[in-house]
């Protein structure tokens, strides 16, 4: 799709210094919309969660949702922002059919939260401080679906359908200051930043934070400048990069593309770019110049939002444990080593492990399953582990079957495949696939006798106290039983047979 030439990332880094900036939109999970009493619910029949306010019918007036203001203040506090004592909404005027009033009610020059920062921990433990310019409240637009054209694009479409269910859903837009000094770690930082925002809003309980549903949407700004240059280069803004991996890839791609443009002696065009997950490239969107004139003016239908210091402090007192502190606590509670815990965090399965432990598994079992079985499969499927389709309850059930000795680890892996293939619950799959550990000791003892007979020297070593040699015998038994035996039980029986203490 893209005809842009790109430089290798390494070469781009040799020549240029990237500067990043992010605008992350967070959809709040309030019961009702930003300015109306219509329900804020995802996935319902189109145009059912709307009332006269959302449709912008003649005569309607907005009323600010107090819960949305509370959520916004919480986000501001979690981002170490100052909270405005009084702030106003403005109207951003533009004609587009996804915006029923033909203006968006949004905060403009008076954001509710400003001047904050967020410390981002990279994979190797390096902490990078990202400065937050502002977090402001606004309303979402409706959703347009273009019909008749290729791939749902507006070009070539015959007509468009509009669903106003999303119109008026409360949003908080979090805007960073220019992020300098990330160097070659810029793509990694990009991913880690968006991940941190997602983690924070989820932790605060103010958003469902599901990127695949658009609860968290990222616009990534990238510009390059030659090493040593103070002045920023011209930026591109890649819109709606809606997964963590995509954020990393998009930033990386834009760095490579900008580098190629600059290398060719051309200026970078200030424009919006569209991210394409299939090709992992961006294409040119709309030229964005300072000539865009939204004719902002203060929203006359709303009075200023006043956040008394008492209210702000009350809300601060309700804030949950920050994610970084939570990580520290979980690491201690689970007894993982530094390396184990970092692997868990980097693999993005900390929440899943917490849920699995909450569902009844031990911390070590939960880690074994997520790190040993799920992460690899997710990587193959190119999705986040939590989105693979294995619930914590499934893991607990599966682990229980192993611990009870009903299946062994090898079988459990097959059961997991069955779960992912939609064959049912673990118990059902064990039943259907006829997977069960041979638990009658009779056939096992025969196999053990045979294995001991086949390797008399090993048997002798074990008798002599070299218990670690037992693996060869266990292996022989497992081979003979085509893996159907419970290795733990086999070991016990061998030791029993040889009269050795395990």
């Amino acid at each position: 799709m893209s005809t842009d030439t790109i430089l290798s990332f390494e070469e781009a880094m040799e020549k240029y210094d990237p500067v990043l900036g992010f605008e992350v939109h967070v959809e709040l999970n309030t019961k009702t919309k930003m300015f109306s009493s219509a329900p804020n619910v995802f996935g319902d029949e189109p145009n059912t969660n709307v009332n006269e306010v959302d449709l912008g019918l003649p005569g309607v007036l907005p009323v600010v949702n107090k819960a949305a203001v509370e959520s916004s203040i919480k986000i501001g506090l979690a981002l170490n922002c100052k909270i405005a004592e009084s702030c106003r909404f403005a109207r951003k005027n533009y004609f587009y059919p996804d915006t029923p009033k033909n203006f968006q009610t949004s905060q403009y020059d008076e954001p509710i939260a400003y001047d904050g920062y967020l410390d981002i921990e990279l994979e190797d433990g390096t902490v990078f401080r990202v400065e937050i310019e502002r977090a402001h409240m606004e309303e979402d637009a409706g959703k347009l679906t273009h019909m008749g054209g290729a791939a749902g694009r507006i070009q070539g479409a015959d007509y468009s359908l509009v669903d106003y269910n999303r119109a008026g859903v409360p949003l908080v837009e979090i805007v960073t200051k220019p992020i300098q000094g990330a160097g070659s770690r810029a793509p990694e930082l990009a991913k880690a930043y968006v991940s941190a925002i997602r983690e924070i809003v989820k932790n605060l309980g103010v958003s469902d934070a599901r990127m695949e549903r658009g609860n968290v949407r990222c616009d990534a700004n990238v510009s390059l400048r030659p090493h040593g240059q103070e002045r920023f280069g011209i930026r591109s803004e890649t819109k709606n990069v809606n997964s963590l991996r995509a954020v990393e890839h998009a930033v990386r791609y834009e760095i490579q593309r900008h580098a190629a443009v600059l290398d060719s002696g051309q200026p970078v065009i200030q424009e919006t770019r569209h991210w394409h997950e299939d090709t992992r490239t961006t294409t040119s969107g709309r030229a964005k110049s300072d000539a865009d004139d939204y004719r902002y003016f203060p929203e006359p239908d709303l009075v200023p939002v006043v956040a008394s210091r008492e209210w702000v402090e009350e809300l601060r007192a309700t804030l949950p444990e920050p994610p970084a502190e939570r990580r520290k606590r979980l690491k201690e509670a689970w007894g993982y080593s530094d390396l184990e815990f970092r692997d868990v965090v980097n693999a993005g399965v900390m929440d899943s492990i917490e849920e699995t432990v909450a569902a009844g598994a031990s911390a070590s079992a939960a880690r074994k399953w997520w790190m040993g079985e799920i992460v690899g499969r997710a990587k193959t499927a190119d999705v986040d582990p939590a989105e693979l389709g294995v619930s914590p309850q499934t893991i607990v059930e599966l682990n229980g079957l192993v611990e009870e000795g009903k299946i062994n680890n090898k079988m459990a892996s097959q059961v997991l495949d069955g779960v992912l293939a939609g064959e049912g619950t673990p118990a059902e799959i064990v039943e259907k696939r006829g997977l069960a550990v041979v638990s009658d000791d009779g056939p096992l003892l025969e196999a053990i006798d045979a294995a001991l007979a086949a390797q008399p020297d090993v048997a002798e070593k074990i008798r002599g106290g070299k218990v670690q040699a037992i693996g060869a015998i266990v292996g022989g038994v497992m081979k003979a039983t085509r893996g159907q035996a419970d290795a733990g039980r086999v070991r016990e029986l061998i030791l029993e047979k040889l009269g050795v203490e395990g």
């Binding site: 006269e52 449709l55 003649p58 005569g59 309607v60 005027n93 033909n102 004719r295 006359p300 239908d301």
Partner: protein, 522 residues
């Protein structure tokens, strides 16, 4: 049942009708039918109504009569104005009747929801007679900018009834309704009141919910009462006022002392301030004479007349014509043919959404609306915002300070409502600036958010047409308007030998006769 003729019934005030209804001397169906008959008889000439809501109005009237006939607690709990019919400016949305805003772009549109004030009228069980004519989206001072033809002034059918609420004022002046609702952004209740010899009140900004009034300029718009007496306006404002959770700009204060103020009017020892900048040069001689007469009457009644100066009022009209169109340009953006109302497809060329929106707006809006949208779009544009919208907001603050200073010297301020009496239809239609100047005395109250009341001050010597006297009070002090207004009204009635409207032509005679009676018209 009633001993009064239909013709006598329609001439009673709302308060008098309410008393007769309560006493069982007349039924609401009789009262409502009498007004519907009057509408049928004269509205062909006046064109005050865009829609007549006979069936529903009579049903509500019958309901009130039934409750009253049954007696008991339900009858006791009936609102004071239950059964008294009312007309509603067609800028206010109503279930069951069309709402056009006087524009082609909303022709045939029915609102699926009621404005808050309509809910309150329904709760009070006041039969709604219909929807009244207005300048398109309330933009104008003559009702000539209605897409559905002009309303005529019942005093002289060749003259304008004022605007934008000419329909509501004319309906009340022509005895087609005892009460009406209007909206006032720069004088749209008070100026029509002045030129039709009726009472009109713009309450304090926020005293009456705007929810369901189609927005013209949000920071200036206010719904208010139109009536023939000061007391009737007080009664109606108490019905429609009060805090509304659906309007963030609505005040939490209760305005429940208005009727009492109107009933116990007294100006003894009050300071009444003449605003130096709002009379004299530019005001018709007959208007000045009636104004001065009112001052004399108030003085005789025990008020102290002082002069105050609001030097920044000379910038009010200019600032108003930046703020109002700016808000208009944004408020009217929603009329695009996508979700409701008129949709016009381009005659040729590609059928894109932008072109459908443009064709709809080009065909659906009249010239005055377009003029203001263009003006406001320009005033808000990058690079011009500070010089225009920003400066105008500063002027607004200065005007508020002027009024603060003036109210430190006087309890109530007074001025003529409009510089002239009703002008002829078409006279100012091609001269927007001349038209805008009609509101020079009413706009300041909207800019400051303070309440204003216009009441009939007599007839001008030179043309025999009504002159309006405007009273202004500090924000939230609406009661003062009624207290002073009731006194002045009584003194003027005494001077003019009864209600001024008794001198208006009857309208039921052939039009030719009317023209002869008022030799000045053609």
């Amino acid at each position: 049942m009633s001993e009064l003729t239909s013709n006598e019934l329609i001439r009673l005030s709302a308060a008098a009708l309410a008393a007769k209804l309560r006493a069982g001397e007349v039924t609401s169906v009789e009262v409502t039918q009498a007004h519907l008959d009057r509408i049928a008889a004269v509205d062909g000439q006046v064109n005050a109504f865009l829609h007549v809501n006979a069936e529903e109005a009579l049903a509500v009237a019958a309901e009130v009569d039934a409750i009253r006939a049954a007696g008991g607690a339900a009858a006791e709990e009936l609102h004071e104005l239950a059964g008294v019919p009312i007309a509603v400016k067609d800028l206010i949305v109503t279930i069951g009747q069309p709402t056009t805003a006087g524009s082609k772009i909303l022709e045939g549109w029915h609102s699926p929801y009621d404005a808050t004030v309509i809910k309150k009228l329904r709760a009070a069980k006041m039969p709604i007679l219909g929807k009244t004519n207005l300048d398109e989206f309330a933009m104008g001072s003559s009702t000539e900018h209605s897409a559905y033809g002009p309303t005529r002034n019942p005093w002289d059918l060749e003259r304008i009834p004022g605007g934008s609420g000419g329909g509501s004022a004319a309906a009340v002046a022509a005895f087609e309704a005892p009460l009406a609702l209007g909206t006032d952004t720069g004088g749209s209740i008070r100026q029509p009141g002045a030129v039709t010899g009726t009472v009109g009140v713009k309450p304090t900004y926020g005293a009456v919910s705007r929810y369901g009034a189609i927005a013209m300029a949000s920071s200036l718009d206010q719904i208010g009462p139109v009536s023939r007496t000061v007391l009737d306006s007080a009664l109606l404002q108490e019905v429609i006022g009060g805090h509304d959770p659906f309007d963030s700009t609505s005040l939490t204060d209760s305005f429940d002392n208005l009727v009492e103020a109107a009933r116990t009017g007294n100006v003894q020892g009050m300071k009444i301030g003449i605003i130096k900048e709002l009379h004299g040069e530019g005001y018709q001689a007959g208007v000045e004479n009636r104004f001065n007469e009112s001052l004399e009457l108030l003085k005789e009644a025990g008020a102290e007349i002082v002069e105050v100066s609001c030097p920044n009022l000379k910038y009010a009209l200019g600032a108003y014509y930046l703020i109002m169109p700016s808000e208009v340009s944004s408020n009217l953006a929603k009329f695009d043919g996508v979700r409701f109302g008129l949709r016009v497809l381009p005659k040729e060329g590609p059928m894109t959404i932008e072109r459908v929106m443009a064709a709809t707006r080009a065909a659906g809006f009249g010239d005055e609306v377009k003029r203001r949208i263009i003006l406001g779009t320009y005033a808000l544009s990058a690079g011009y915002y500070d010089a225009y919208y920003g400066s105008a907001q500063k002027v607004r603050t200065l005007i508020q300070r002027d009024f603060d200073a003036a109210f430190a010297q006087a309890d109530v301020l007074i001025s003529p409502t409009a510089p002239t009496t009703a002008f002829k239809l078409g006279e100012k239609l091609d001269d927007p600036l001349a038209m805008y100047l009609n509101d020079v005395a009413t706009i300041p109250a909207n800019m400051a958010g303070i309440p204003g009341l216009s009441l009939p001050g007599g007839l001008a010597d030179e043309d025999g047409l009504p002159v309006g006297i405007q009273l202004l009070a500090p924000a939230r002090e609406d009661a003062r308007l009624y207290r002073v207004g009731a006194v002045l009204e009584a003194l003027l009635e005494e001077k003019w030998g009864g209600p001024l409207l008794a001198q208006a032509p009857s309208l039921v005679e052939p039009v030719e006769t009317l023209v002869e009676t008022h030799g000045g018209s053609k």
